[in-house]
């Protein structure tokens, strides 16, 4: 790396750090997210009580030294269930968002690079998918294939790739005519290399921003499905399905309805704030005025 490039690199990171430090919501959000991820990943070594162990005699116990957040209607430890549920919700969210972005990248690059008929067909298909209310599409998939975590991840990805694909396509269209692409073409790069080695990286900033925002949306949708009994199914805990049972006991133990919802809210809020920050850092054009 030349000295000038290093200096520029340095300046970028300093700007990023300054924006991060000044944006209090994103700052707190990233700390929260790190905390949640660390706790959730290290769950097996934390010595938690078994999240699925029933103890009917100890149902609805208030918070205590043994059960930090008390127990639920079946006497299960609420804190342990929150941790395990977070593991499931975050894993589903990140996996689905990653697949979304992969699919969207391929579709967007191909449509943008080839243009013409290919572009027309792909974009009309995208429009069609966008016109189907995504939640209904998910319900169809779950009705046919059931709701295992794998099906859920694939289904969530299938219903979310359209917007990101359009984003990638518009980036590709912007860079396609530029000289470095013509040059890369002239030295004999294959189409595949042109698309995925030279054009796609140009869309990387928008892709990173889109991914971080997708995770939050996907987590909300998964929570909704699980709440309806069509997502992650009990006894496996997820933040969404913990609210299903809490709903029935909100007269006796309203606090059971508070914790999982608060976890979803704070985590999605953090992800969105980080996404907005990344946009300010990586892609200043898009965030203007917002």
């Amino acid at each position: 790396m030349t000295a000038a490039a290093a200096r520029q690199d340095n300046r970028f990171w300093r700007k990023a750090l300054r924006l991060w430090w000044r944006n209090r919501v994103a700052l707190l959000g990233s700390l929260w997210l790190v905390l949640v991820v660390v706790v959730v990943v290290s769950a097996p070594w934390l010595g938690l009580s078994d999240p699925n162990k029933l103890n009917m005699r100890n149902a609805f116990a208030p918070p205590s030294a043994e059960h930090w957040l008390g127990t639920d209607e079946n006497g299960r430890d609420v804190f342990a269930r929150l941790v395990v549920g977070g593991r499931v919700s975050l894993a589903v969210g990140f996996a689905a968002a990653l697949i979304t972005v992969l699919v969207a990248s391929v579709v967007g690059v191909v449509a943008g690079y080839y243009g013409g008929v290919v572009d027309q067909v792909v974009m009309r298909a995208t429009d069609g998918f966008m016109a189907i209310p995504t939640f209904f599409l998910l319900l169809i998939i779950v009705a046919i294939w059931g709701s295992s975590p794998t099906v859920l991840v694939l289904a969530l990805a299938l219903t979310r790739w359209m917007g990101v694909a359009r984003l990638v396509r518009s980036e590709v269209l912007r860079y396609k005519q530029m000289e470095f692409i013509t040059a890369a073409e002239a030295v004999g790069n294959t189409r595949f290399r042109l698309m995925f080695k030279h054009l796609l990286p140009q869309a990387a900033p928008s892709l990173i921003v889109a991914t971080s925002l997708q995770v939050g949306v996907v987590m909300l949708v998964e929570a909704g499905l699980s709440f309806l009994g069509l997502g992650i199914l009990p006894p496996l805990a997820s933040w969404g399905n913990m609210l299903t049972s809490a709903q029935h006991y909100m007269w006796i133990a309203p606090r059971l309805a508070v914790y999982p919802g608060l976890m979803i809210l704070l985590t999605v809020l953090s992800l969105n704030a980080i996404g907005d920050l990344l946009r300010d850092v990586l892609d200043p054009r898009q965030g203007a005025g917002r």
């Binding site: 209310p133 939640f135 209904f136 009994g229 909100m250 203007a288």
Partner: protein
């Protein structure tokens, strides 16, 4: 203008075709293929008739044309779990409730979201702006069913101000306009949250963008008062992207109501779809989905038709 209308209409039809095709492809990949749509309890003669109607013994392209022909004729199939009732009748029965809820939520989102966005933009970087920003961020990150549960706990269980479910009170004293409004408030507010937040954000940024433009400065410098400039020049231009966002939000208001309708026992299409999914009633949920997609496409077409009224610069050709 006519060509613009025609091209919009044409692309709406193409989108509808994509929707119907997508559902067909999905069913082809289902275990058992099209036969998943047949009721295992029906008589042999009835099963035979249905199989012939769908072309189960024919090659795929015949099945595909039959599939499209059935939808074009308005035949959405028969449900598996509700005694084999035709899906079309069930959908039409549930439509009014969903429309009522969706429109109420759309109205709330616009009537609160747009002014809030304008207020935030006009007081950029003040406390008001920050407050609107917090409201918008919370609205986008809040699981709406959780908000719904909390509101039931507060307004129904604790304060006893609002009913927790249904569209009206059953019995002699219920069913009046006021009674129906009381039932509508909570679900409509919950359904509106995310869209309201989006409207606030987009209105704010659109307003800020327009205010900085030359024609606004010109209008100011020729001596027009602030209010007049804002009403006649800024608002009209700032509303264009807002209409776009509204068009994108409509599917969520009409279709995203599944969770809200279920939570509040609201007898609409969303609740029907959730019920169908829980019963694994594939034809019913397919029919509901295609129908709601049709509604969304029509709404988008409407939005496209409103554009030229707002923005004379749009090229009709």
């Amino acid at each position: 203008m006519q060509r613009y209308l025609l091209s919009r209409l044409l692309s709406s039809l193409v989108v509808l075709l994509v929707v119907v095709t997508a559902t067909f492809v999905m069913i082809q990949f289902a275990p058992g293929g099209l036969s998943i749509l047949m009721n295992p309890n029906m008589s042999a003669a009835e099963a035979d008739r249905l199989a012939r109607n769908m072309g189960l013994d024919q090659p795929v392209y015949v099945q595909y044309t039959r599939w499209i022909a059935n939808f074009v004729q308005g035949d959405l199939g028969s449900s598996l779990s509700y005694g084999g009732r035709p899906v079309r009748g069930m959908v039409i029965e549930r439509l009014p409730a969903t429309l009522k809820l969706g429109l109420a939520a759309a109205l709330l989102a616009v009537v609160i979201g747009v002014p809030l966005g304008i207020l935030a933009a006009r007081h950029q970087n003040t406390f008001i702006d920050q407050l609107a920003g917090v409201v918008a961020s919370l609205g986008l990150a809040m699981p709406n069913f959780w908000l719904g549960i909390l509101m039931i706990v507060l307004f129904s269980v604790t304060l006893d101000w609002l009913p927790a479910s249904g569209t009206r009170t059953i019995g002699s004293r219920g069913g009046g306009l006021l009674d129906q409004l009381e039932h509508l408030i909570m679900p409509a507010v919950v359904l509106a949250t995310a869209t309201l937040a989006e409207m606030t954000r987009y209105t704010r940024s659109a307003w800020l963008e327009v205010v900085r433009q030359d024609f606004v400065r010109t209008a100011r410098s020729k001596g027009l008062g602030g209010g007049q400039v804002e009403r006649r020049h800024v608002l009209k231009n700032a509303l264009i992207p807002v209409v776009t966002v509204f068009g994108v939000a409509l599917p969520r208001l009409l279709g995203g109501s599944a969770v809200v309708e279920t939570l509040y026992s609201w007898p609409g299409l969303g609740q029907l779809a959730v019920d169908a999914a829980l019963r694994r009633d594939t034809p019913l949920i397919l029919g509901v989905t295609v129908f709601v997609s049709l509604m969304v496409i029509l709404c988008n077409l409407l939005v496209d038709l409103v554009y030229p009224l707002l923005d004379p610069r749009i090229d009709y050709a």
